[in-house]
């Protein structure tokens, strides 16, 4: 709204400037009884017109600078808002069934979004961390967590992401997300986490 009114002001000022300076449609010359006085009057009038023009130009320049600044700020904010969103989408965890490492159908959408983000940000490199719940064997869970991390990596690679951009890690059951000894906690702990290793400074929306 503010920028609209500013534009309006600029438009009017520009129109006035154009009308006065181009001379294509001069105001009708008034009959003058005295050549000297007429010349003086004309000069004074011209001076005031010049002054008004200068003032208008100055304001226009100021306004356009302010608008440019505002636009830049607005777009930066939008960019950062988008970047937060993109990061959150990229970091969204996926989950697994008990003792399983296959990608669940309800997680494929989340992985597809990560594919799009990785495609839009070719410098981005990520690490996938596979995790397990506490029910299995401690050491076997390291192998299972590795499988879970690899499963996500395979999905991303099969959708066109270069394997060199994805590291994997297994934490077994060593880093539970939720403390607790029921299925609610276990189901949240059987997961892959995604973190940015590098190239995340200027992340773009897909």
């Amino acid at each position: 709204m503010k920028s609209v009114s500013l534009l309006l002001v600029i438009g009017l000022a520009a129109a006035a400037t154009a009308a006065s300076s181009c001379g294509g449609n001069p105001p009708p010359a008034q009959p003058t009884p005295n050549a000297d006085s007429a010349a003086a009057a004309a000069k004074a009038r011209q001076d005031s017109i010049d002054a008004a023009n200068a003032e208008a130009a100055r304001r226009a320049a100021e306004d356009s600078a302010r608008i440019a600044r505002q636009r830049e700020a607005d777009s930066l904010a939008a960019l950062s808002r988008g970047s937060e969103e993109v990061r959150a989408t990229l970091a969204a965890m996926i989950h697994f069934d008990l003792d399983k490492s296959n990608i669940r159908g309800d997680d494929m959408g989340a992985l597809d979004q990560k594919v799009a983000i990785l495609q839009a940000n070719p410098d981005l490199r990520i690490r996938v961390g596979g995790h397990c719940d506490e029910r299995g064997s401690d050491e076997y869970n390291l192998a299972l967590g590795n499988r879970r991390a690899q499963a996500a990596k395979q999905y991303l690679v099969s959708h066109g992401i270069d394997a060199g951009r994805i590291e994997t890690q297994s934490w077994g059951e060593e880093r539970p997300l939720v403390d607790g000894h029921d299925e609610s906690a276990w189901s949240q702990n059987r997961r892959d986490e995604f973190e940015i290793i590098s190239g995340g400074d200027n992340i773009h929306h897909p």
């Binding site: 003792d99 064997s137 401690d138 050491e139 192998a143 690899q150 990596k153 994997t168």
Partner: protein
């Protein structure tokens, strides 16, 4: 009618009570306050273990208490406690009749005017009242005395009415770092003298707690931290020499294996580690080879390296999208048992130490038997302990290597990660039977269970080989 039946029942009970005797031996299990373990009846045969009496003395109380507890924890003796102190040992009254229910033990102390200890005790060596101890059910009596700076453990053979052996040791001062191990070694020598077999008193257990590796004596004393960083660690494993161990540490997204000197704490990364997730290290009995698991893109497989020269990586399994992990060497070094997911769920497999001849080891019913993990080959080679998922929780099993049959050892709570004592009859394991996960020790022969460490969160125990000398004495 009813009265007759009741009388018959009472008579039957009386017979059971009598035949289960000597009942007075049973309280010998409860001679210490730590022992709150429960018995589960596996192959428990009451009364077949020789009775052992510790003779009371003035002085050396800590040595005596440790030795008697070690002998108790060996589960090879019925420890007999004397109610009347020295008075019984010094009593010269005529011995009571053998096997009678009138043995003077129920707090009844034979009258004895000469209850002096010092000189009388010395002169009593070799001239013990053997018939009395025999009547008490003792096969051995142990007398621990001091002569100058030498501690003497004199083992009396009661039926033979003589001294079996006198074990002499110059013990470090109580409180010095080597004191307890020296006393434990003395207890093992006594056991050796009595039964001709080796004990496990001078052994320790490595375990993980809150991501760090700790060491604890088998009697639950002297717990100390041995991992040297704040990084999360797992899977400690003893080298056969008892002076080194290996473990895994999470570091920069990888699993690193380290080989550490127990005495100095100096450690080196194992050759080629740090490139992937390496875990579950295990040493060959000759100390030349370390086997371990490595998780890479296509799955987890078993590898070996030469640990002496820290070189020469060799791959033993090629899983092709199955996992192979948790290796354990047979004591002859010829075979490796391990976990494989090739049947779908993890189960116990075995192969030659060079990776050939891979085959199923512990039988299972496809689709019925739960996951089986964490195998450890017993030092005598006859068994492999592991844990298996039974109805959603884990239980400890033992595989008989010769017959390839398995038996379930535990049933109370969740029980996992068994590790053999060097006597191949005790296992340390993790159990939540008390409400939280802690370390326990079970004796397979008697079924006796005792807590090793009453602290929550301890796991992944690894029992040492026999520690012939204190690790701190080696460079």
């Amino acid at each position: 009618m009813t009265g007759t039946r009741a009388g018959g029942l009472a008579g039957g009970l009386a017979v059971v009570l009598l035949t289960a005797s000597p009942p007075a031996r049973l309280p010998a299990q409860d001679t210490n306050t730590i022992d709150r373990g429960v018995r589960i009846g596996i192959v428990y045969r009451p009364g077949v273990r020789p009775g052992m009496v510790m003779l009371p003395r003035k002085g050396l109380d800590s040595v005596r208490a440790m030795v008697v507890r070690d002998l108790d924890y060996s589960d090879r003796f019925e420890i007999i406690t004397l109610p009347g102190g020295d008075s019984i040992r010094l009593a010269t009254a005529s011995p009571p009749p053998r096997g009678g229910g009138t043995t003077p033990r129920g707090g009844r102390t034979p009258t004895s005017s000469g209850s002096g200890t010092g000189g009388g005790a010395q002169s009593a060596i070799g001239s013990l009242n053997y018939p009395l101890y025999q009547a008490l059910g003792a096969d051995f009596a142990l007398d621990i005395t001091a002569a100058g700076d030498t501690t003497i453990a004199t083992l009396h053979d009661i039926p033979a009415a003589g001294v079996r052996r006198a074990v002499r040791a110059q013990l470090p001062a109580p409180g010095s770092p080597d004191f307890r191990q020296a006393v434990h070694r003395m207890a093992d020598q006594v056991l050796q003298a009595a039964l001709g077999t080796s004990g496990i008193a001078a052994t320790r257990v490595l375990f993980v707690k809150e991501g760090k590796v700790y060491l604890i004596d088998q009697d639950g004393a002297e717990m100390k931290l041995v991992s040297s960083t704040d990084r999360q660690a797992m899977s400690p494993a003893w080298a056969a020499d008892g002076h080194h161990f290996a473990y895994m540490e999470f570091q920069a997204g990888k699993g690193w294996l380290y080989y550490q000197d127990m005495a100095t704490g100096k450690r080196i990364p194992v050759s080629t580690t740090g490139t992937a997730l390496d875990f579950t290290p295990a040493f060959s009995p000759d100390g030349q080879t370390m086997a371990f698991s490595r998780a890479i893109e296509e799955g987890t497989d078993l590898y070996t390296i030469n640990i002496k020269n820290n070189c020469c990586l060799r791959r033993l399994t090629v899983g092709h999208f199955s996992d192979n992990l948790s290796p354990t060497f047979s004591p002859d070094g010829q075979r490796i048992a391990f976990v494989s997911t090739r049947p779908g769920l993890p189960q116990i497999y075995v192969m030659a130490a060079d990776g050939t001849d891979q085959q199923l080891f512990a039988p299972f019913d496809y689709g019925v038997t739960g996951s089986s993990n964490a195998p450890e080959w017993s030092p005598d080679g006859q068994s492999v302990a592991f844990h298996r998922d039974v109805a959603g929780t884990l239980q400890v099993f033992v595989l008989d290597v010769r017959t390839r049959t398995v038996r379930q050892l535990t049933s109370v709570g969740r029980n996992e990660d068994p590790t053999w004592a060097p006597d191949s009859r005790h296992l340390a394991f993790v159990s939540d039977r008390s409400g939280y996960r802690q370390l326990w020790i079970i004796d397979l022969d008697t079924g006796r269970i005792r807590p090793l460490l009453q602290q929550s969160g301890a796991r992944l125990p690894a029992w040492s080989p026999r520690l012939s000398e204190a690790p701190s004495t080696t460079p």
